[in-house]
């Protein structure tokens, strides 16, 4: 079945899914921290819209709450905090030269394919939107990990981590119309605390190795020099 004969909600969700996936790619290729954070905020925004949309069309009121939470956390609070950190540490100018960017990009693309390949046999008997949405969110999660693997800036790691959270959240919204409220609140709380902790850690790391390059965090290892 092709996209014409789907209802508007589904079309919109699919579009959003595509956009979210796109944002992940943008982050993956992004060398400048400020832009990275900006794209992350964008992803959060798309997520919030998706949530609100789901809440509206499936009229599940509790999704509004999570939409609001998402908006507050992922679009404003966390990006703002990270920005502050970046400016405080005065690293908003330096860019990270990614090694073999194209390879990473191709890897990301193949990850998307892979997530479809994984989920396809599973979801054959479910509406296609589920498949696409889940596949997208899975690929967002994987892309987030790839982001963390390929970037050396601690900030980038945080952003990757958060985008993984986004992926999860999106999956929860589209596939299951959100988790039970208690769980959602719990997740939101965890994310918040995590963000705060990251803030603290930047300072510590900065003070200990006076840089945020995680490759320099390699005192503890098991390799014989």
């Amino acid at each position: 079945m092709n996209i014409e004969n789907l209802d508007f909600y589904t079309q919109a969700i699919l579009t959003l899914a595509a956009l979210i996936g796109l944002t992940s790619f943008l982050m993956l290729g992004q060398g400048r921290l400020l832009r990275l954070v900006f794209v992350f905020a964008l992803q959060g925004l798309l997520l919030a819209i998706a949530t609100a949309l789901a809440a509206y069309s499936l009229n599940e009121p509790h999704l509004y709450i999570s939409a609001v939470i998402t908006l507050a956390l992922k679009v404003f609070l966390i990006p703002w905090m990270i920005r502050r950190q970046i400016f405080k540490m005065n690293i908003h100018r330096d860019t990270e030269a990614l090694k073999n960017k194209t390879a990473v990009m191709l890897g990301g693309a193949s990850l998307v394919v892979f997530s479809y390949y994984v989920l396809h046999p599973v979801l054959h008997n479910t509406p296609v939107v589920m498949l696409n949405a889940l596949a997208t969110s899975l690929s967002v999660v994987l892309l987030g990990m790839l982001l963390m693997i390929s970037h050396r800036q601690a900030i980038a790691h945080v952003v990757g981590f958060m985008s993984i959270e986004n992926g999860l959240f999106f999956a929860a919204i589209v596939s299951t119309n959100g988790m039970p409220m208690v769980v959602e609140l719990g997740i939101a709380f965890d994310v918040l605390v995590a963000a705060i902790l990251f803030g603290i850690f930047f300072l510590h790391i900065r003070s200990s190795i006076d840089s945020l390059d995680v490759d320099m965090l390699n005192r503890l290892n098991e390799v014989d020099k």
Binding site: V122, M145, A154, V182, L197
Partner: protein
């Protein structure tokens, strides 16, 4: 059920109390009191369970059954004894000025927070909430790992944070898939309730459940410390304060494994196959062997024992994966004896490193001469953890070996190799620390070794005879997990 609420409430109050008044003198004592209270509550709970059987709270949010009750009591108990130890330990740390009041505040508050998370993981019937609690446990302990603010501790904490965060996120994805599979069979309200899912496990979509289990295994497995996801574990154990290492090894790993097993029960029900078991066996065996080899190259005493933790968690994962009644029984027993023994060992290790003023193995010598109690405690504990009778660890390892011999005889040589390597690795490091001439500059410290003695006594008791109520719980849990009772 009130007991459960009381337990959680107590820990919450603990958090706030210490967050505000954590700098007071005697704070360690107070922490001990808090834990004593929770321990008593859990005992009360246990008696309830023993008399009236399993309970599920009215809102179905909490469950206490024969599987988790003994873990709850164990958690409370280890929390208690460790708090006794940490009182003495932290006092000494404060003396030598490694810690300030502010950090002590954090320490004690987070201690309670960690206990809260542990209890929550154990009692929660809602898989989502279990996940939340697990994440909370990570967040609580991260601050403790970086308590000393040394570059190493920061680095360790960061790795711990990132790796476990990512891992736990994957577990979340698994949970979402589980939820998804659950709502396929209707009943959206209780779709995440373990008790409900366990009843209707066979209706769940097997493919989805398999993928979900993969995510959960990788996610929670990171916390269990399965190779190759284990890398955070030695760092976190070795750089944090020793009481932290004790509870990490003794409790956190157990609870992560507990979560995996809970999910495995659902997956097995859904797939009616042994695939989850195979995954667990593979990971378990790999972790067991690799950790056993790592034991042979350690220079830091706390790293040493954190690798031994990985090894034992691997063994447990393996024998849960085997899935026969015998092996399941063994694994349940091993969870208990391992956390008792390991936390006891970390207590002695903490004192040992304070005696020598360092954690480097080659700097610590002749403990028996400097402070016989610590030396013997360390030696006996190591014997116990290396699986020598009459300590309980031997019992479970014995059962695991026999169970393996019954189901997969060709795997036994690997187990044999692992146990031999592990024993060699432990003793080639421990023996010179305990025996021989003491290295200069080693001074006896004011140590409280009651926890060690109690723990080892318990482990000894479990090795010689398993008390009836415990045996009942174990066999009920075995029935729950593997379908039939051991023999």
């Amino acid at each position: 059920m009130i007991a459960v609420y009381l337990l959680l409430l107590l820990s919450v109050t603990g958090i706030f109390y210490f967050a505000l008044l954590g700098h007071r003198p005697q704070v360690g004592r107070i922490n001990t009191w808090f834990n004593t209270a929770s321990f008593l509550i859990t005992v009360w709970l246990a008696i309830n369970i023993f008399l009236n059987g399993n309970i599920i709270s009215a809102n179905q949010l909490f469950i206490v059954d024969s599987f988790n009750i003994y873990l709850i009591v164990l958690t409370a108990f280890v929390g208690l004894t460790t708090s006794i130890f940490s009182d003495a330990y932290m006092a000494h740390e404060k003396e030598i000025g490694r810690l300030t009041d502010k950090r002590l505040k954090v320490y004690y508050a987070m201690y309670q927070g960690f206990m809260l998370a542990m209890y929550l993981v154990l009692v929660s019937n809602n898989m989502g909430m279990m996940w939340v609690a697990m994440e909370a446990a990570t967040l609580a302990t991260v601050m403790l790992v970086s308590l000393y603010r040394t570059p190493e501790s920061i680095e360790a904490a960061w790795k711990y944070f990132i790796l476990c965060g990512v891992g736990i996120a994957q577990a979340m994805f698994g949970t979402i898939l589980l939820y998804y599979a659950a709502i396929q069979i209707g009943d959206v309200e209780n779709a995440l309730l373990w008790s409900v899912l366990y009843e209707s496990a066979e209706h769940l979509n097997p493919e989805i459940m398999e993928i979900a289990f993969v995510f959960m295994l990788v996610g929670y497995g990171t916390k269990i410390g399965l190779v190759p996801l284990h890398n955070w574990l030695p760092d976190a154990h070795s750089e944090g304060p020793t009481p932290m290492s004790a509870v990490l090894s003794g409790l956190l790993l157990n609870d992560a494994l507990y979560a995996v097993v809970r999910n495995k029960m659902l997956v097995d029900g859904a797939t009616q196959s042994h695939i989850a078991g195979f995954f667990m066996m593979g990971f378990g065996l790999l972790s067991f062997l690799v950790a056993a080899i790592f034991l042979n190259r350690q220079k830091d005493i706390k790293r040493l024992f954190s690798y031994s933790s990985i090894e034992h968690m691997g063994l447990m994962t393996f024998s849960f994966g085997l899935g026969t009644p015998l092996s399941t029984f063994a694994a349940l027993l091993h969870m208990m004896v391992h956390s008792l023994t390991k936390s006891a060992i970390f207590v002695t290790v903490g004192h040992a490193s304070q005696i020598a003023g360092t954690q480097r193995i080659e700097k610590i010598r002749g403990l028996i001469k400097t402070q016989p109690t610590v030396g013997w405690g360390l030696l006996i504990g190591t014997l116990a953890i290396a699986g020598f009778p009459p300590f309980g660890v031997f019992t479970s390892e014995f059962l695991v070996l026999l169970a393996t011999m019954q189901s997969y005889p060709w795997l036994t040589p690997l187990l044999l190799l692992g146990i031999g390597l592990a024993g060699a690795g432990l003793f080639r490091n421990i023996q010179p620390m305990v025996y021989g001439k003491q290295s200069d500059g080693q001074l006896p410290v004011q140590a409280n070794l009651w926890p060690v003695m109690i723990h080892l006594a318990l482990v000894l008791w479990l090795g010689l005879a398993i008390p009836t109520f415990l045996a009942d719980w174990f066999s009920q849990a075995t029935v729950l997990i593997s379908g039939s009772a051991p023999l």
